[in-house]
Amino acid sequence: MTLLLRQVKIIDPTSAHDGQVKDVLIRNGKIAAIRKRVPGSFKRTVAHEGLMISPGWIDVGTFIGDPGMEHIETMQSASKAAAAGGFTGMVMLPNTEPALQSKSEIEYILNRSRSMISRVFPLGALTKACQGNEMAELVDMHHAGAVGFTDGMHSIQEAGVLLRGLEYVKTFGGIVVNHPDTEDIGAQGMIHEGSVSVSLGLVGKPDLAEALMVKRDIDLLRYSNSRLHVLNISSAKSVKLVRSAKTEGLNLSCSVPVMNLVETDERMLGFDSNLKVRPPLRSESDRIALVEGIADGTIDFVTSNHQPVEVERKKLEFAYAAYGSIGLQTVLPLLIKGLGRKKSPERIVQLLSLSPRRHFNLPVPSIDQGKMAEITLFDLNSQWELSQDKIHSKSLNSAYVGIPLKGRSLGVVNGEKVHLRDGLGSG
């Protein structure tokens, strides 16, 4: 397989060609040449005004229902959706049935993922069945290839359980991932607690529920001197806590769902169940604080918070609908919109590729001659709409179908495997 990328801007601070517009020739999964002009014509050539490339993007905290919930998502469908969204890899949550809680489940994921265009890097369950009680076999899973440990969508409620996890992963320099949510504060809360929840008569989830746990987790991290990733924060209070903990020099990172950079709870007034997500969409001041947290480096990267839900559990009365929104295919346009004037190609690549890779010890595939090709192609100005037939996920629960979007990933190259948007690369 030979593919020529004509006159693309390379966004990769690890490459000698960073910031330059070049021809990039990919042959047999490797970068064969990067030149001002590669002579000759090739059957597969991509020439697209405004095209940029970067090291392949990584999504952290992707929910994939395989094994156990293949009717909402399979490894195959998730991989296709990820490739269409520009991701060459996903760090997958362990909330499957059974949970990814021993080396055999980790090996299953890695083996199935090997043939896919977007690779899957599993997070192992921190506790058995992600129940938050008894620690799972972490060292064994680490040796099998788990890239971190978490109970995923189940926040660890017991401080002692999280503390033992933080201590234990020091055996192998591992990382613990926890999504902060104190369950018995705003116990049945469905949306952000504020003027909107009051006027809709819905039980609110106060930002306190999140901030209390962020604070606790930081205290436990300080005590254990381990590594922690705070997954998917949503409130100004959490940004403040993480910012101050980082100035202490703790080994702490955190992420935000890209939707929370764009939407607020005002959107809930129409009871659209596709916006019923966890963490909830919060107030405008929270949204602004999250964008600032990105700009000053408090927040390390953004996530798709990809959570497929079948129509039977979504097209229901708001209170009965399941949580979650698919997100892999709309990360770039939402990120561009959320960052506003604070956006730049360098920052976007940092947030989607370099930073998540660094925190999960996934090597950066530099765009240099002779290296394996793991590349995302994107255009920050492309205007498009997501239509239902273009959704690759097995579930359709997106709030962005039929909405004009700006900025699009145009494809990925991952070794021998290539996915290009329709009409590109025909040459």
Partner: protein, 309 residues
């Protein structure tokens, strides 16, 4: 009448305008006169079919709607959750679509989930009237409450209304707040702090935890039912303590400087939020509220159906 509502549905008071409310009241004035005639029936909604879908128990709201429909000569069908296919696992959308395929024009729905009428309005083609959706809204109750206040005081200018009791679980409180604020009244909500939602001030109301002070302040006290059936968590220690510190009795009313009008959306927990000698007294307009309920619901049905004629 040429005038029309600005909306196809009545999903909540927050979705309608003050002009809509005024129009409903003017229309209700006429219907109140009609239902006090020897022959109470008018042919306004002849050939209009209305389904009353009650996914939650109700006695007075349901009877009130049914009477309003019958007095307008509409054809009605009734559905209640206890004897329904819902228990067999059918979704709300399927249930309602099945009923609509039998050519129903309007749907009156009561449902335990906030937003269920909005969900239906987004997916089906019929006029939807919210008869109470969980802890969200109960617009016709708020309209009949405000109509009763208007009847008693003539206008809303300078009128101080206290809403007392379980504000947290009350759709009546929420709809009343939206309605009274639109009409220009002043509103205070009062109850134990655990039964008052945080951020309620953002709706433009004052908050008090002291019933005596609130009663001294207000012209009207709309006393809400303690929603025992909707409390999964204990928000106050006992009914005994509640009635002692937040209930209204004759002695308390007699000790106030001026006379307060007492309202209650029913059903009353006698001896809890209101004692019988208060509920049945001359100060109470509880039964007028019920009578006005029919007139107000006739007005809502009539106005929503008008574009069809």
């Amino acid at each position: 009448m040429e005038l029309q509502l600005s909306t196809k549905h009545l999903l909540g008071i927050k979705y309608i305008s003050k002009e809509d409310i005024d129009l409903i009241f003017e229309t209700a004035d006429n219907f109140k006169e009609v239902i006090n005639r020897p022959i109470k029936k008018v042919p306004s909604l002849r050939d209009v079919t209305i389904a009353n879908l009650f996914f939650e128990n109700s006695t007075r709201t349901r009877i009130s709607f049914e009477l309003a429909e019958k007095r307008l000569s509409a054809d009605t069908v009734n559905f209640s959750a206890s004897a329904s296919s819902v228990k067999k696992g059918e979704t709300l959308l399927d249930t309602v679509n099945n009923i609509l395929s039998m050519k129903v024009d309007m749907v009156v729905i009561r449902h335990p989930a906030p937003g269920a009428p909005t969900f239906l309005a987004n997916h089906i083609d019929a006029n939807i009237i919210n008869a109470g959706d969980g802890t969200h809204e109960h617009p016709t109750q708020a309209l009949l409450d405000a109509f009763s206040i208007r009847e008693h005081f003539g206008s809303f200018k300078g009128i101080k209304v206290a809403i007392i009791g379980d504000i947290l679980h009350s759709r009546v409180a929420l709809s009343n707040i939206f309605c009274l604020k639109k009409l220009g009244a002043e509103v205070t909500v009062c109850g134990p702090p655990t039964l008052i939602p945080k951020h309620i001030e953002s709706l433009g109301v004052a908050v008090s935890y002291n019933v005596r002070e609130t009663l001294e302040w207000c012209d009207v006290a709309n006393v809400l039912r303690i929603q025992l059936e909707r409390q999964e968590i204990k928000y106050f220690p006992s009914l005994r303590e509640y009635s002692q510190y937040f209930g209204i009795n004759r002695e308390l009313l007699n000790s106030l400087k001026s006379e307060v009008v007492i309202m209650h959306p029913g059903p009353i927990n006698r001896g809890v939020e209101l004692t019988s000698d208060v509920a049945d007294s001359d100060q109470s307009i509880i039964l007028e509220q019920v009578e006005n309920g029919v007139a107000v619901r006739m007005a809502v049905l009539y106005l929503l159906a008008a574009p069809r004629a």
